[in-house]
């Protein structure tokens, strides 16, 4: 525990140092929200491996370094450099963040329909903080973890998306978060996505690196869905091999709203993604599909916390992992069905494909059910490629390596097909192919 005190103190000083420069410091509600978060963070400290949810993760390496938030990029990327990162061809708007800071010059926001507010959170907090007061921090307040508190204490920039009642976006909103050196860099992006009643949108979050600078991203996205609102939320963590990444998604759902997410984690040395869903009104539904790929030196960590508090809501969570080399993964999926949440329909699945004997996965699905009239299930598998499947492909003339590649892609496809953004799926498939092709990750046919 003592070893952890020092980084907390370091971060407390950092918060004090940057506080005067944060936007909206004349808004009392925001200042007190930040202050409460700071207090909470200092009191709680960073988690240790004694905390159940952090059993498999040692934070010492992340915390021993000082990560400067919002560091000035050494080189300003040009629009052309950024184009390679675009995923959605038909995006109606793009926001680009470098080291946590929105760059309007690289973003494109023109031609948005009436009823859509979209831009940098930083600007919104400077210009009209009271506009965000009803939402900011609403979804992310329940049982805050250290990283959530830290993100809130440092609320500065990120994406601010507001879709008015009944408004439907014609294409995805694409949010791109890049990190670049020199030096060690931290980004704490804070995103707020609000869909009023009946609004519909697709939001893509893409985290990537411009170089292989060691960076630490602590992102937090709050999603608030009004009655009947529908959000498709695709997220790709594709950072450099030196990156540390933690992302928290908090979703609050109104009556009959639908939240559909596909979360993919490919890059990073250490990557943790958490989804916290609260279905607060009846008939809400959420579907979260995820894919994680971890190879040598990588640890990827998924935590789901799905809360059914009211009757007749549906949730489906399906995560798949592909593990190569000495890759490690943790899947911790929890569905909590409260006493009043009768007629809940909840299903959780986690399947892992181990392409090497040295890879490791810890999977822990948990159903906590306090209502009696519910339909809930969970299932997890950890397995290898099926010999019959390999035989079948090879018996049609397909080489053993190609056969393995096809089966791995097929395994991933079952998750990716839940995403409607073609460019997103294509990018993940390419990444997966590259990872499979890189080195002797697949073993040989005799295995």
């Amino acid at each position: 525990m003592n070893a952890m005190l020092e980084p907390v103190e370091r971060y407390r000083r950092l918060i004090d140092a940057v506080a005067p420069s944060l936007p909206g410091d004349d808004a009392g509600w925001l200042t007190s929200q930040r202050a409460r978060a700071t207090e909470h963070f200092v009191r709680q400290g960073f988690p240790t491996r004694k905390d159940e949810a952090w059993r498999y993760t040692s934070l010492e390496r992340v915390l021993e370094q000082v990560w400067a938030p919002n560091a000035e990029p050494g080189l300003q990327p040009a629009t052309a450099d950024i184009a390679a990162f675009h995923l959605a061809k038909d995006a109606v708007a793009r926001l680009v963040f470098i080291n946590g800071r929105c760059l309007p010059g690289l973003s494109s926001l023109s031609g948005l329909p009436a009823g859509v507010q979209l831009g940098s959170l930083h600007s919104a907090l400077e210009q009209q903080p009271e506009r965000l007061a009803p939402w900011l921090g609403q979804a992310a307040q329940a049982g805050v973890s250290s990283f959530t508190a830290l993100n809130t204490a440092l609320i500065d920039d990120g994406a601010w998306v507001h879709i008015a009642v009944g408004t439907k976006l014609a294409g995805p909103v694409e949010l791109l978060y890049l990190t670049t050196g020199p030096g060690t860099v931290a980004a704490h992006p804070r995103n707020l996505v609000v869909l009023e009643d009946g609004a519909e949108a697709t939001v893509v979050e893409h985290y990537a690196s411009l170089d292989d600078t060691a960076c630490f991203t602590n992102s937090l996205t709050e999603v608030l869905l009004g009655a009947g609102a529908q959000l498709e939320h695709a997220r790709l963590q594709d950072e450099s091999a030196a990156a540390r990444h933690i992302s928290n998604v908090f979703v609050q759902q109104g009556h009959s709203s639908h939240y559909r997410a596909v979360g993919v984690s490919v890059g990073g040395l250490w990557s943790r993604s958490e989804y916290h869903n609260r279905m607060q009104q009846t008939q809400a539904s959420c579907e979260i599909d995820g894919l994680y790929i971890a190879g040598d030196a990588q640890l990827t960590d998924v935590h789901l916390d799905i809360g059914h508090a009211v009757p007749a809501c549906t949730s489906r969570e399906r995560f798949k992992g592909i593990l190569l080399g000495r890759g490690r993964a943790v899947f911790d999926g929890r569905i909590r069905v409260e006493v009043d949440a009768q007629k809940t329909d909840a299903q959780l699945a986690n399947d892992n494909l181990m392409l090497s004997r040295d890879a490791e996965v810890d999977t822990k699905p948990q159903l906590e059910i306090f209502a009696d009239d519910v339909k809930c299930s969970h299932g997890t598998t950890v397995g290898q490629l099926e010999p019959e499947q390999l035989f079948y492909l090879r018996s049609r003339g397909i080489g053993a390596d190609d056969a393995r590649r096809m089966l791995c892609l097929g395994f991933a496809t079952e998750v990716l097909q839940a995403c409607s953004v073609d460019g997103f799926r294509a990018r993940v498939e390419t990444r997966l192919q590259q990872r499979l092709a890189a080195g002797a990750v697949m073993g040989n046919s005799g295995e």
Partner: protein
């Protein structure tokens, strides 16, 4: 084309094939019949190179090569094809991608260029039409959720696309309705040629009404215990296998 001499195979030390002999020449159609568990599928799998079988004796020559020396994909590329008794489901692998990769792998082995996307689509639609397969099934994952008959049709589609030199059909006719049986039979008859040979593993005379075999063999206890022409199949239909077992023992 195919010469099997005194083939002995075991699985987990358990002998399954006990000195099997078979000679298949170009242009011939051989039917292999035999009781359940007699080793028909095992024989087909050993020919295709499925792992898990230990060859403890004998040899198999395909053209002028030692077949047992080749990897699974090498055998396929040299023109051997096995339609499985239980076709495997490949969730997430598009049937079209599977068919295209297979065809292009086989074409490459024959020294032919890969088909471009448009030509491939034309060819595959054409062949799917021939086997009466709904184009919908081309877009789905390979065999995943296909009915038993649809899976068998998919095997025949692969046969039609890949045009192998030696095709082994392991009970492709089992569990088919009359129309589908015609499709299987037509699939074989269309490809029948002086350069090509077929081994049809079947339990039923019905298929042989449509595809007339040159030879009929009875496999029992891991050996071919009797061979004859198509009249043997008719006799088996009437009398069952008991009498052969009796004669073989005698």
């Amino acid at each position: 084309m195919l010469t099997v001499k005194d083939l002995r195979v075991s699985v987990d030390e358990q002998p399954i094939l006990n000195g099997l002999n078979l000679e298949v020449g170009e242009g011939e159609v051989h039917a292999i019949m035999g009781p359940n568990g007699s080793g028909k599928s095992s024989f087909a799998h050993v020919l295709a190179g499925r792992e898990g079988y230990t060859v403890t004796g004998g040899e198999v020559r395909f053209d002028d090569q030692d077949l047992l020396d080749l990897s699974v994909e090498e055998r396929a590329r040299k023109g051997l094809f096995l339609a499985l008794q239980y076709p495997v489901e490949l969730p997430g692998v598009s049937n079209l991608v599977f068919l295209r990769e297979s065809l292009n792998a086989i074409r490459a082995a024959r020294g032919e260029p890969a088909l471009d996307a448009a030509t491939f689509m034309k060819v595959v639609r054409d062949k799917a039409g021939q086997v009466n397969m709904s184009p919908e099934l081309l877009k789905r994952s390979v065999n995943a959720g296909f009915s038993g008959g649809e899976k068998k049709r998919n095997e025949i589609l692969q046969l039609a696309l890949l045009e192998p030199r030696l095709a082994i059909l392991d009970e492709t006719d089992s569990g088919l309705d009359i129309d589908a049986l015609r499709v299987v039979a037509d699939g074989v008859n269309v490809l029948r040629s002086p350069q090509r040979a077929f081994i049809l593993v079947t339990h039923y005379q019905r298929l042989l009404d449509y595809v007339e075999p040159d030879y009929v063999h009875v496999l029992s206890g891991g050996r071919i215990v009797r061979s004859g022409d198509k009249s043997l199949a008719l006799e088996l239909e009437r009398r069952g296998y008991g009498w052969i077992a009796g004669e073989a023992a005698a």
